[in-house]
């Protein structure tokens, strides 16, 4: 059985090698089909694992409650036209309510404003984050050696101290050690007490498209912010003036175990709802829920991309069948000779089917090899996009940034599947030519010129 199998395979390889160019060209369909299946799945995997990573960066046991500017309906404009100040978002009493939930182990309230930071002549727009000491651990931030994060004492005594994100530090202090230096945050002086290590951006939350980039943040005590910057966020643009009053931009809650996250999130929603019965001016983001969504998106993505690529595999299969049918006609005489010498119909079927499978299987292996090169090819693609598509446009959009940051990941499970599919294509599209070869009448076949 085994020796027979290898003999048949050897025979198939031999007869395929007789027409190297033809066999090669016939194989190309499968090669590119398999390649595109692997590449599509790799791109899908890359995109979804990027999304997954960003969600995980938010913290799998965290629940994030964020202030959201409510939609501009009649009710809100009425209240804001009176005072010219738009009040919305989380309140300090919301925070107090949330800290009372028993399954929550750690909380950190936070308020953010975008302002200019300056050191000597260097300046940078940063997100100033007023927060508490817990902010560091809840957001998985790490301190660079030498410095420290905000402490309870800093908050109690309203210290003018700040912790600078790695990128902000690099821009403001390219040549010096930032520790102990004084930065200007809108004309107020703050002493740098620490620098955070670089941290990968997390997923976008609260309706904003861009992910959260922690590296350009500057952290100051929440209490200091309230006193020094006031409770209004003032924005002036082209002659118009608008002010918003937000007590807290965000409250991050940490739950003891993953199992409690979903149920706790329900309690959180109910609690906040009580203080905000009418306006939807906050959002509850549960990374664990996002993760489940991301998984679902990934399945859909893989399925759709895989299906598109599968079409090219089918086209490849039809190409093989076409050539094999031509081969059967061309080799009718040979089939007749083999039959006269004692070949059974099944021997003829095996012979032609094996040829098709060897052809498609080899195509599959070459395709897998190309598929493994997907990340390399993608790097080239990124380079090309950077050079020719994005070169003219100023600044990079979120979409192009997502594209440029994405790294395709060849899914190991897709390799055996792709090979299996290519062999299956050989079987499916080889059966008909092989059967038509075996059906030939030996005498007719022998007479064939």
């Amino acid at each position: 059985m085994n020796t027979q199998f290898f003999r048949t395979v050897r025979l198939a390889i031999k007869s395929l090698l007789l027409h190297k160019l033809r066999s090669g060209l016939t194989m190309l369909g499968i090669v590119f089909g398999v390649f595109s299946v692997i590449a599509m799945l790799a791109i899908g995997e890359g995109a979804s694992s990027q999304a997954q990573r960003q969600v995980l960066e938010l913290g799998a046991t965290n629940i994030i409650v964020r202030s959201v500017k409510p939609p501009d309906d009649g009710e809100n404009t009425a209240s804001s036209s009176n005072s010219r100040v738009l009040r919305y978002g989380l309140l300090e009493k919301d925070y107090r309510l949330l800290t009372a939930i028993p399954t929550i182990t750690q909380t950190t309230p936070m308020r953010e404003i975008v302002k200019q930071a300056r050191y000597q002549h260097r300046q940078l727009n940063v997100r100033i984050v007023g927060c508490t000491p817990e902010y560091l651990t809840i957001n998985h931030l790490n301190m660079a050696p030498g410095g420290r994060f905000l402490t309870g004492h800093d908050l109690d005594s309203l210290e003018n101290v700040c912790v600078v994100g790695s990128q902000a530090a690099a821009v403001l202090f390219p040549y010096e050690d930032p520790l102990g230096k004084i930065v200007q945050l809108e004309n107020q002086a703050y002493q740098v007490i620490g620098v955070t290590n670089e941290r990968t951006a997390s997923a976008a939350i609260g309706g904003s498209m861009s992910g959260q980039d922690y590296n350009k943040d500057v952290y100051i005590p929440l209490t200091t912010m309230k006193v020094r910057f006031g409770i209004l966020n003032v924005q002036r643009s082209a002659g118009s003036f608008s002010a918003e009053q937000i007590e807290l931009s965000q409250v991050t809650l940490q739950v003891a175990s993953k199992e409690d996250v979903i149920s706790t999130a329900e309690v959180v929603r109910e609690s906040v709802e009580r203080n905000h019965p009418r306006s939807k001016d906050y959002a509850v983001v549960v990374p664990l829920e996002l993760l489940k969504q991301a998984d679902q998106i990934r399945y859909i993505f893989n399925f759709v991309l895989g299906s598109i690529a599968a079409i090219s595999l089918i086209v490849g299969g039809i190409g093989i069948m076409n050539i094999m049918l031509a081969t059967v006609t061309e080799r009718t005489r040979e089939i007749g000779i083999r039959r006269a010498l004692g070949a059974k119909r099944s021997d003829i079927i095996n012979q032609f089917l094996t040829e098709t499978i060897v052809l498609s299987g080899t195509g599959g292996l070459v395709g897998i090899f190309l598929g493994l090169m997907t990340p390399v090819a993608f790097t080239g693609l990124k380079f090309a996009v950077n050079q020719f598509v994005l070169s003219g446009s100023s600044g990079t959009s979120d979409i192009s940034r997502i594209f440029l940051e994405m790294q395709p990941q060849v899914a190991i499970w897709s390799l055996p599947i792709a090979f299996g599919i290519s062999v299956a294509i050989g079987v499916i599209f080889g059966v008909y030519p092989a059967r038509s070869a075996a059906r030939l009448d030996p005498i007719e076949a022998l007479r064939h010129e």
């Binding site: 083999r338 010498l341 004692g342 022998l446």
Partner: protein, 240 residues
């Protein structure tokens, strides 16, 4: 002891409304060790008869006993096995596989042996023996197109011998050869017959037929006569 026994063998071809009765009841005994020439004009049914004898086809009716076994109703797979084991074919147009070497062509029937055992060094030794016997020992690596017609027919004979068949079927084996080469091929066949193999050969050349042991003459799908002179006096076939 008979190598083959035909009883009222008929073969009818249906082509649309046309019915072609290629064989209309052939009864024929071929003893073991016979060297039979089947003669007759074109269309008389010689090839049809040889195809049936060679188990390449099944009769429409009648009985065909081959080596004491009724093969007239055997399945396609069984007939394939019989062709492989018991019968060696030699064709007018050689029918070698062009992309194979001489050695590979000669070994080809071994591939379809019962159980498909691996080709052993013993097989190869036998193959070389047979090849030297037909004068091809120096040509084993050649391909058919590098050989003359006579050499190609020798390859075909060697291939027919590799499974040591009891019967050799030859359809005009010398038809495509010059007379000198034809004589050489006939000598090989005579030698094979001399060692006990039954040979059945279709030919329309009397000087080839005369070298066999026995001649039958076909006409309109029937055996119309026997003996070399039956062929020459076509007007008055000797009754069978």
């Amino acid at each position: 002891m008979y190598a083959a026994q035909l009883t009222e063998l008929m073969k009818t071809y249906y082509m649309g409304d046309n019915v072609v009765r290629a064989l209309r009841g052939v009864t024929l005994d071929i003893p073991t060790g016979d060297f039979l020439a089947i003669m007759g004009s074109s269309g008389s049914g010689k090839s049809t008869l040889l195809n049936l004898l060679g188990c390449l086809d099944r009769p429409s009716s009648g009985k065909y006993m081959l080596g004491g076994v009724d093969v007239s109703t055997m399945s396609d797979d069984k007939l394939s096995g019989i062709r492989n084991k018991m019968i060696g074919f030699i064709f007018q147009s050689f029918n070698l596989i062009t992309q194979y070497t001489v050695l590979e062509n000669i070994l080809l029937p071994l591939q379809y042996r019962q159980g498909a055992p691996t080709i052993t060094s013993y097989d190869e030794k036998r193959c070389i023996e047979i090849a030297s016997r037909v004068g091809l020992a120096q040509r084993l690596d050649h391909r058919p197109f590098q050989l003359s017609g006579g050499q190609q027919q020798r390859v075909a004979i060697a291939r027919a011998l590799i499974n040591d068949p009891e019967i050799i079927m030859a359809d005009e084996p010398t038809g495509n050869l010059d007379s000198v080469t034809a004589t050489e091929i006939m000598q090989i066949l005579k030698d094979l017959n001399a060692e006990g193999r039954t040979i059945i050969m279709v030919t329309h050349e009397p000087d080839v037929a005369i070298q066999t042991k026995r001649q039958i003459y076909m006409k309109d799908g029937l055996v119309a006569g026997e003996g070399i002179f039956a062929y020459e006096s076509t007007a008055q076939p000797v009754p069978h």
